[in-house]
Symmetry: C2
Subunit: 144 residues, 2 copies
Amino acid sequence: MLITANPIEHLQSHGIKPSPQRIAVMDYLLNSRMHPTADEIYLALSPSMPTLSKTTVYNTLKLLVEAGAVLNISIDEKNARYDGDTRPHAHFRCLKCGAVLDLYPEQVPYLEQIDRQQLGRLRIVQTRLYYIGYCEQCQEHTSN
Amino acid sequence: MLITANPIEHLQSHGIKPSPQRIAVMDYLLNSRMHPTADEIYLALSPSMPTLSKTTVYNTLKLLVEAGAVLNISIDEKNARYDGDTRPHAHFRCLKCGAVLDLYPEQVPYLEQIDRQQLGRLRIVQTRLYYIGYCEQCQEHTSN
DNA sequence: GTGCTTGCAAATCGTTTGCAATAGC
DNA sequence: GCTATTGCAAACGATTTGCAAGCAC
């Protein structure tokens, strides 16, 4: 489903030297569709990698984002979320349950045009398209 | 340039009882194009309203956002920014100088289509379109 | 052995909370 | 007087920093 299943290759193709910790974080992001926070990644990896520290998770995420191997999603005001899928896509966040879903170009046809857009003299490095609302399940149980 | 120049009317039209503090915050947002943070608003208003507390600024901003009188902009990962212009528009942030600029439908033609878009069974309440890159001035002085 | 990586502990800082003082009807 | 609003001080929580220990080539 994702571009590269192999975390080591993914790291190397972005110029990052693989270490056990980096591989673990990258692997988790490549195989997760839930856009975890740094803390969620730490909690998920801790059991199988007990010496892992939260600092290393933060360091690694920073490195991965700067190298373009991972996307930083700012749709959730509380904390940063991370996405191992670097293909262009939009995100939806449910105001009730907090879930963050991916929206691919099939669902959001303007995505590709937005990405290609020229905006005067601005040099665009990244585009972020976020939808906020209520997901299918949460609508059913809310009047609002 | 903005929809309503009058902060009191703007507050009332969103069901918010005007108080001196609320009027001051709303007025500042209606007449600012810089998308200030809570702290910037506090610092700007403090001199002319010395008893104003940062807590009140936070309380007021929360109230205004919930009432739809103000937009919360999450383009800057460090802190929340606020926009008194609630018309649909996109934002650009410069990675070097940090400036946040408005982009109106003339510049971003897909904006209106995005806002009208149906996304399956999701109920969309808000759309956020952010561009990240380098502004005109900062490009000139950067190799990157 | 030099330089990069890790991880603990402490610091930082934006934001929230508890609660008492104040203002407005 | 009663309720909503304000604002101080303390708490909170995500993220960052300083730095010493560990690892790799």
